[in-house]
């Protein structure tokens, strides 16, 4: 069960950091700074960050960056690692050409 989280608006300014230009999501080329900015703008879960920025929505479906994003969110928002739900993986586990996906032995 999720814990209640009040999404209060920060009145303090967003602070840039030296490593903000670091690429976190390699597929969609999303940087740490963009993730931090989205967190500042209220996105507070892995899914919200993902949907707002496309982090983990690229070709590899977050296989490399999921853990990194989780770490950044946990650190920035002070949320325990275990309390952050990662986004659900979905079929297909590997990219599949539509022609192949369509060919599942059933005749039209």
């Amino acid at each position: 069960m999720k814990k209640p989280m009040e999404r209060t608006f920060h009145t303090s300014e967003f602070k840039a950091q030296a490593d903000d230009s670091l690429i976190i999501c390699r597929c969609e080329e999303i940087t740490k700074g963009e993730i931090r900015r989205a967190l500042y703008d209220g996105m507070s879960t892995i899914n919200e960050i993902k949907r707002f920025l496309r982090v983990g929505m690229g070709l590899c479906q977050g296989q490399t960056c999921n853990r990194l994003v989780k770490g950044i969110i946990a650190g920035e928002l002070g949320i325990a690692w275990q309390d952050l739900e990662v986004s659900k993986p979905r079929s297909p586990v590997r990219p599949i050409a539509m022609k192949i996906y369509a060919n599942d032995g059933l005749v039209k």
Binding site: R7, G42, K108
Partner: protein, 372 residues
């Protein structure tokens, strides 16, 4: 115990839109969301912003949203919601399909919508990628699409900046009534008091409305969608078919989002969480390739499913519940709430602020159901 002027139950696109338009009118609502912002149908839908093929009752809302609200939304919210108004093509392959399209066009014209039947050549002028089998289409040039995830989160972001309080992970279990009027809600961990409660909780709305004796004829339908890898820009139209076997569009990112229907959904939607079925994505791919064979090598990278809250007559319930003063309903969008979400947000906000929306919501009254 906490107090609020207005409580919105549900942090989906409808709840966030209402919160935004209320905040614009200086009413800082408290939005209570069971999970996260935009987790249900708000992030699972195909992003259509469409007037064509809507029930006539919804048409004024859709046309208002498309003419007055969607075009300025990106600037207004400060987030690119990826709205494109390049038309909706509903494709047909057979004479039977064309008859269906004729009926849709007839309906649209009744509402004054710019909607017409186009022939084989004109379809290809608009979208040169369709298969040889396509013989015609209906075309509504003012329809379009947007990014539902970003739209929901943009409403949320802006409403939050304007002072709306959002509390996620707060599962509303029942509505509270005191002295014959709504007085708040009870969640798993808290009690919130307010004289106005808006129910925009999708399927959950049925359960919650029942806690004050309102029975909404709503059912759960599980629909599936899929997304491809990114491709260079091909066509900007929203695509549908007369056969209603799939719909979709190419996103700003370059990937195509397609929804598909097998017809089995009403019989296989009994899960507690949305799941995908092994047979749906292959069926959707076959349907897509039947109209766009050029996409055969395009790779699917993800499929997903989501529940929609379908009303018995496929039209939402919107407006005040007179017998429970203070309760407003905004639910049952039946799979086409995203396109009208800005209008719903604005009109419900007007209802709360002025007691009177600028477009009548009477057709969406909760007590309209007698016989389908």
């Amino acid at each position: 115990m906490k107090n609020a002027d207005v409580i919105i139950v549900g942090g989906g696109v409808i709840g966030c839109s209402m919160a935004y338009y209320l905040a614009k009118s200086k009413i800082k609502a408290v939005v209570l969301e069971k999970e996260e912002i935009g987790v249900g149908a708000s992030s699972a839908n195909g992003g259509g912003v469409r007037q064509s093929a809507r029930d006539l009752r919804e048409m004024p809302l859709a046309m208002h949203a498309v003419t007055k609200l969607w075009p300025g939304l990106t600037d207004e919210l400060g987030v690119d919601v990826e709205y494109h108004q390049k038309g909706n093509l509903r494709l047909g392959k057979t004479e039977g399909h064309m008859e269906i399209l004729d009926r849709i066009v007839g309906q649209g014209k009744l509402a004054g919508l710019d909607l017409k039947i186009i022939g084989r050549d004109e379809v290809r002028e608009i979208c040169p990628y369709v298969s040889e089998e396509v013989i015609g289409a209906s075309f509504c040039p003012t329809d379009g699409h947007a990014n539902p995830m970003k739209t929901t989160l943009a409403f949320y972001k802006r409403a939050r900046e304007l002072g709306t309080t959002f509390i996620t992970g707060e599962w509303v279990k029942s509505l509270l009534m005191t002295k014959g009027k709504i007085s708040g809600v009870i969640t798993g961990t808290n009690e919130y008091h307010a004289s106005k409660v808006i129910l925009a909780a999708g399927l959950e709305s049925r359960t919650l409305a029942k806690t004050v004796g309102i029975d909404l004829p709503m059912q759960k339908i599980m629909l599936e969608a899929l997304i491809t890898e990114a491709l260079p820009k091909m066509f900007p139209q929203m695509i549908g078919t007369a056969a209603a076997d799939f719909y979709g569009h190419q996103t700003d990112h370059g990937s195509f989002v397609f929804g598909g229907v097998t017809g089995l959904e009403p019989f296989t939607s009994d899960e507690s969480q949305p799941v995908t079925r092994r047979f749906t994505a292959p069926a959707t791919c076959r349907a897509i390739l039947g109209y766009f064979p050029c996409l055969e090598h395009t790779k699917i990278i993800r499929t997903w499913s989501g529940f929609l809250d379908e009303m018995a007559d496929h039209v939402p319930v919107l407006g005040q519940v007179e017998e429970v003063p203070g309760l407003t309903l905004a639910c049952g969008f039946s799979g086409h709430g995203f396109g009208i979400s800005p209008a719903v947000g604005q009109l419900v906000a007007e209802l709360i602020v002025n007691g009177q929306p600028s477009i009548s919501l009477e057709a969406f009254h909760y007590d309209r159901f007698r016989r389908v």
